[in-house]
């Protein structure tokens, strides 16, 4: 529900376009009363977008599938070569020659039953592969987010606070180079140096000897996160080995994204530092550290939160390439292989999964944004 912008006696609005109360106009009490209510409706409005976007994205993907012949679409439901002569039956069974909207309805119905087709790449149902490989990829992505946020925000802040100083110059050069090295070039170069030349790290997820030991039994998968599971099993050696395999992929994945965050953090903190309220805070005699942290940086983080939605998209794009280079058995490697095998079911399963993940993440970002910055809620 939209609350009308209260007007003064002379008809001018109390709030300006951005929802800020101009100086001399205290926020009316009703606004304060409605604060909690507004946040709730804001979140609700955003939540209603979720099924809509899901509907749209899946329609796009199903429409794309109409470029294929029914026989090609049938490939998604074939489990072995023996079934090749049953293609007409499969087309009839799954009604793959019907108009697209009928197929879309049927596809949604199967999706609700957890049937996303059969992955020829991994020889199991698509949903099983998704479930198995998700923790593997999540482990990599979560570890990559740490340096992205830590390094990005820290260096961006340092650069802005030392504007045009040595640190600033170094950070700017670093970020522009980090931003310009494509993931696949970075990955290959890292492998040439640290695997080929120095032999410190290997591609893959775990060394063969440990893989054999784990297959022999006695190793329980609690979470699917290998490092965590190894610790829960009391195997420090396996945990360390898994970590060692994660070093290069994490660096590869994190470089581009941290460079992005660094740039945005720097420029938005510079903007914030030139605001009037920062000058006022300084004029009041507050310590520079307090002004920088509490007044400037907190506001400068808002664009960074916006960017985090894009960071997730970047991570998904990056995961496909990084996992392929490092032979890391996650979702990205599976999707890239499936695309080469013309394994439609797997690629579509992956596409739908990423779309839902991105939409959900954007929703979270929006809500976070609304909480951090009240102006958004009033907008």
């Amino acid at each position: 529900m939209r609350v009308p912008n209260p007007a003064n006696a002379d008809g001018t609005k109390v709030f300006d376009e951005a929802g800020r109360a101009p100086i001399g106009h205290p926020r009316p009490p009703i606004g304060r009363l409605l604060e909690g209510h507004r946040l709730f409706t804001f979140i609700l409005r955003r939540l209603m977008m979720l099924p809509l976007v899901f509907f749209g994205v899946t329609v796009i993907i199903v429409l794309l599938m109409q470029l294929l012949t029914p026989a090609q679409r049938a490939a998604a439901y074939i489990r072995s070569e023996n079934q090749a002569n049953q293609i007409p039956e499969i087309i009839r069974q799954y009604r793959l020659d019907e108009p697209w909207y009928v197929q879309y309805g049927l596809w949604l119905g199967r999706l609700a039953n957890g049937d996303l087709g059969y992955s020829r790449t991994t020889n199991e149902p698509v949903l099983t592969t998704l479930r198995k490989r998700l923790p593997t990829t999540a482990e990599l992505a979560l570890l990559a987010i740490l340096p992205v946020i830590g390094v990005g925000i820290f260096l961006g802040t340092m650069a802005a606070l030392n504007r045009d100083g040595v640190i600033d110059q170094v950070v700017r050069v670093l970020s522009i180079f980090g931003w310009s090295i494509p993931t696949f070039v970075m990955g290959i170069w890292l492998l040439v140096i640290f695997y080929g030349l120095l032999g410190w790290f290997q591609p893959g997820r775990i060394s063969t000897e440990f893989a054999i030991q784990m297959a022999m039994g006695g190793f329980t998968n609690y979470t699917g996160f290998l490092t965590l599971d190894a610790l829960l099993n009391g195997r420090l050696d396996i945990a360390l080995d898994a970590l060692r395999h994660l070093v290069l992929p994490v660096i590869t994945l994190a470089t581009v994204q941290s460079a992005q965050i660094m740039r945005v953090m720097r420029s938005s903190l510079l903007d914030a530092l030139s605001e009037d309220y920062v000058r006022t805070a300084r004029a009041k005699g507050l310590q520079a550290r307090v002004v920088n942290r509490k007044h400037a940086r907190r506001n400068a983080l808002i664009p960074v939160i916006t960017l985090s939605g894009f960071v997730l998209i970047g991570l998904i794009n990056g995961v496909v390439i990084t996992e392929t280079i490092f032979n890391y058995p996650g979702l990205g490697q599976w999707a890239a292989r499936a695309a080469l095998n013309l394994d439609y079911a797997s690629v579509l399963g992956f596409a739908v999964f990423t779309a839902v993940a991105v939409v959900t993440a954007n929703l979270l970002v929006d809500v976070l944004y609304g909480i951090v910055d009240p102006r958004i809620r009033y907008g």
Binding site: V185, W189, I313, A355
Partner: protein, 342 residues
């Protein structure tokens, strides 16, 4: 002896001179990083242009140009029709990397008689990199062209008509943006099949939404100006107003932003063909050359860096290309957006 009149240089007030002296261009000229970016991009333009003249052509390319082994370099002569053909009507076979032998193992420059060595299967790295610049610009310019056309049509229609049309078109745009670009392009190339044209279609299909948003914003801004109301009052039809009066004024910033996208578009293309979803095998395309290098990370025992040239040169080329566009893009964004320069 009469002294020749000393020439005096007066800053001429031509349109070009005014543009050169304008505040934003001065800021651009004084930014060293921008100049570096400009120089890099300009070098790539030069490389793409002269690639046919400085590379040893392959056999099928020579055949299509009507050249023989005896006249292998005749196309470098401007008087020869082969020159004009290879420059402006390049046969498709010239975009395929010539092979110096068929060795499954990469060969050093000395062993293969090429400038930078060969990848596995004998593909000439030097040829691939030089012609790859042509491929890169072809992909970049065409994709931006297709993407812009679609973006302008969608954005202008949405903004001018407004109401439910605007809502439907823009929500559709949001949905396309919601899918990670690489994943959507992957689906499209897989469905359409591997080829350079399909690669371009796939990337254009993920590139247009951002242009549509930009155009829509600009058109919405201009729509409110008085001269548009004037045109409406004179009874011009809506599409006439959009295309004659609004778009020409809205298109400037959009064109700049879109052309600066060439770097990232080429990057996406290279990423896709690195994954094996690009043009056919042997096409002069940087992403594919990097993917060749994947199998040669380890050298033979005792020589860990034996095949360094397979990954170094293509990697360096892509990094420089992307760096050039990023520097240029950064500088332009600085010039266009005065905020942040207090």
């Amino acid at each position: 002896m009469d002294a020749a009149p000393t020439p005096t240089f007066v800053a001429r007030k031509t349109a070009l001179g005014r543009w050169w002296q304008s505040k934003s261009l001065r800021r651009f000229r004084r930014n060293p990083l921008a100049i570096v970016g400009l120089v890099i991009v300009a070098s790539f333009v030069v490389i793409a242009t002269i690639a046919p003249l400085v590379t040893p052509l392959g056999r099928s390319c020579m055949r299509d140009l009507g050249l023989t082994a005896a006249t292998a370099t005749a196309h470098r002569d401007v008087r020869n029709p082969a020159f004009w053909e290879i420059m402006f009507r390049t046969p498709g076979s010239c975009y395929m990397m010539p092979r110096a032998g068929f060795s499954p193992i990469p060969q050093t420059p000395e062993a293969s008689g090429t400038l930078l060595g060969t990848t596995s299967q004998g593909y000439d790295i030097y040829y691939g990199l030089m012609w790859g610049a042509r491929t890169a610009f072809r992909i970049g310019v065409l994709v931006v062209g297709i993407g812009l056309t679609v973006g302008i049509l969608v954005g202008a229609t949405a903004a001018y008509l407004g109401g439910w049309v605007d809502n439907v078109l823009m929500r559709f745009t949001d949905m396309v943006i919601a899918v990670p670009a690489l994943v959507l392009a992957l689906v499209i190339v897989m469905v359409l099949g591997n080829s350079i044209v399909n690669l371009m279609i796939a990337i254009a299909a993920v590139a247009w939404p951002s242009y549509a948003r930009l155009v829509r914003g600009e058109v919405l801004r201009i729509k409110q100006l008085e001269y548009v109301t004037g045109a409406q009052a004179m009874g011009r039809r809506s599409f006439g107003i959009v295309f004659r009066h609004i778009l020409p004024n809205a298109i400037g910033p959009v064109l700049i932003v879109a052309s600066l996208d060439i770097g990232s578009i080429v990057l996406t293309a290279a990423a896709l063909s690195f994954l094996g979803l690009g043009p056919e095998l042997g096409y002069t395309d940087w992403g594919q050359m990097i993917s060749f290098a994947r199998n040669w990370i380890l050298g033979p025992p005792g020589q860990p860096l034996a095949y360094w040239y397979t990954s170094f040169w293509p990697g360096l080329t892509i990094v420089l290309f992307v760096l050039g566009w990023n520097l240029l893009g950064d500088a332009f964004r600085d010039v266009l957006d005065v905020r942040g320069h207090v």
